[in-house]
């Protein structure tokens, strides 16, 4: 009996040893959960995403052919009421007041999360995919190809892309008023269907993959000289295997961290473009557009401008804190920098 229980204990010990090891990603996630600012920001961002999705019931109603009604937002973002203009928060059933057309500010801010978040995530996704692909190829390829590819990136960096984007926006806006032809018209139709967000996606995509490509290339260069890559080559692993099993998983962490820290920039760029009238098309509510429409009445009706401003600030701060937290978690050496 005693012998058997000893054997049982030995077996239990062996099985405990066979537990799944903690992967570096799981380890980093545990670190992240210890960072209060990052956790709060993460929860805030998740809430924002839910708010953006459930601003109205379109996600369920559209496929079922129901009428689209506001869900979280009290009213539709474009519902105008000329008798109830410029009401302060709390008056006339407007929780956060109404704007110069009598539209509900709370509803517009809620709908505005859709624009800001979709711009943020689409731009981040596009820049991540293009940047990593480009950077990985450049870093992995021969020095000659790497050189050519990086000089092309340098060239684009030197190019005033923001001016190019503004010109592109102005051109397409003008064209959409006149009506274009061929591909231009298709693009304009897509843009219209998305409330004027499509060209912002393109613009931010064009602007932001360059930095990611550089980061990805740098990471690739440093990892490709590591001995474990050499070991994989000695074993007879092919290029694809080395890229996808050895390089990509290792460079992904730093790239995602860099991208998270770049998201506030995207949100700001969208707000900026909307502010100067080159962003989303009214009445689609974007925080930048809301500020731009109301900042002249800052004295008389400060809430109309400050509320979307606060939403913008909180969101960018949340992404910054989360990005910082991710960076610390993935690379503890950088903590506090």
């Amino acid at each position: 009996m005693a012998v058997e229980s000893a054997r049982d204990r030995a077996l239990a010990r062996e099985l405990a040893l066979a537990r799944r090891g903690r992967s570096p990603v799981a380890e980093a996630f545990r670190q992240l959960l210890k960072n209060k600012a990052a956790v709060v920001s993460g929860i805030f961002i998740i809430l924002l995403i839910l708010v953006a999705i459930f601003a109205d019931n379109a996600i369920i109603a559209k496929p079922l052919g129901w009428e689209v009604k506001p869900l979280l937002a009290p009213k539709h973002f474009a519902q105008v009421s000329f008798k109830q203009r410029d009401l302060p928060p709390g008056k006339g059933g407007f929780i956060l007041g109404s704007d110069y057309l009598g539209r509900d500010i709370l509803s517009r801010v809620i709908y505005g999360t859709r624009v800001s978040l979709s711009v943020a995530f689409v731009a981040a996704g596009v820049s991540l995919v293009i940047g990593i692909t480009y950077g990985l190829i450049s870093g992995y390829a021969s020095a000659y190809i790497d050189n050519l590819m990086m000089r092309f990136v340098d060239f684009l960096y030197g190019f005033p892309l923001l001016i190019f984007i503004i010109l592109m926006q102005v051109y397409f806006k003008a064209l959409s008023r006149r009506g274009g032809s061929g591909i231009a018209q298709i693009l304009i139709n897509i843009d219209k269907a998305m409330g004027g967000m499509f060209f912002i996606f393109i613009a931010l995509g064009l602007l932001n993959w360059l930095g990611m490509a550089r980061i990805a290339r740098g990471q690739t260069l440093s990892y490709k000289e590591k001995e474990f890559v050499e070991a994989a080559r000695a074993v007879g692993a092919g290029h694809l295997r080395i890229i996808f099993r050895h390089l990509l998983p290792n460079i992904l962490g730093p790239c995602i961290v860099a991208e998270t820290l770049a998201i506030p920039g995207y949100i700001f760029t969208e707000a900026f473009l909307s502010f100067i009238g080159l962003g989303v098309t009214p009445p689609t509510p974007s925080w930048g557009l809301m500020i731009s429409e109301t900042y002249q009445a800052l004295r008389a009706a400060p809430h109309e401008c400050l509320i979307p401003g606060a939403a913008l600030t909180l969101t960018t701060l949340a992404f910054n804190f989360l990005g910082d937290g991710l960076r610390d978690a993935f690379d503890p050496r950088l903590r506090g920098t």
Binding site: A18, G236, P249
Partner: protein
Amino acid sequence: MAERDKILVRVEHLKKYFPITRGILFQKTIGYVRAVDDISFFIHRGETLGLVGESGCGKTTTGRTILQLYRPTAGKVYFDGVDLTQLKGEELRRMRRRMQIIFQDPYASLNPRMTVGDIIGEPLEVHGLAKGKAKRERVMELLKTVGLNPYFINRYPHEFSGGQRQRIGVARALAMNPDFIVCDEPISALDVSIQAQIINLLEELQEKFGLTYLFIAHDLAVVRHISDRVAVMYLGKIVELTDRDSLYNNPLHPYTQALLSAVPIPDPVVEERRKRIILTGDVPSPANPPPGCRFHTRCPVVMDICKEVEPEFIDVGGGHWVACHRVK
């Protein structure tokens, strides 16, 4: 067995030059680092050839060039009669099953994002030798062979110590039952107490599987312990190659003599009387090696001829090869 069959690896006039380039858009080659410059030797089946020399003399490059991890600039590497330098693609991949490498740094040689099972099982997967359950079983068997608990299979490298990691590296090299393993300073990065364990493990495995080693190191005592024959490298050249005992008891090349005189002797009385040959100056740059004998700038017994004529690497009897004008 005929003499030829006993030789597993034969290296003939192997050269590896790394280009030095300059230029931003159009890169011009402005010179070469002669990491390995015309070396020839052979390794018998089942023996351990030690390769010693100071940092930057081309030891590691030699090992990696033999395995075709670097393609040689010139020369031939015969492995079991097949010229590896002529092999490409699939043929080379198939040969890789028979020759493996163990790396110096156990922290850099394991992919931090892969489990031990995936790391050791990678060779099996790449060559389609085992999958799923069979792979798992083979990996656990290998873990046992190198003295690790087979239940470590699902863990990640960062959960192990340096010595354990090195054992994982050894297990990966063993996965395909190779004939030949290049041990590239496998113990230099380890604690002294762990070094002995790894050395013993390597010796055990050699006996068990009939392995042939090229053992690269700069620790002369370790090389003396593990090697059957020893080659001494200086600035991309082999200056002396012979069996262990004649090298340590009767070194002929002045560089070997200087190296050996630097080894401390664990006997205070003898140590007191030990005379060190202290070399002056630094190792010249391999991008611009001196003419004649490469060692002439630091040689204590240099002659005029050394500065002009490169000494030939010759057998002075009994398989004792030296490249020195003093030895004839």
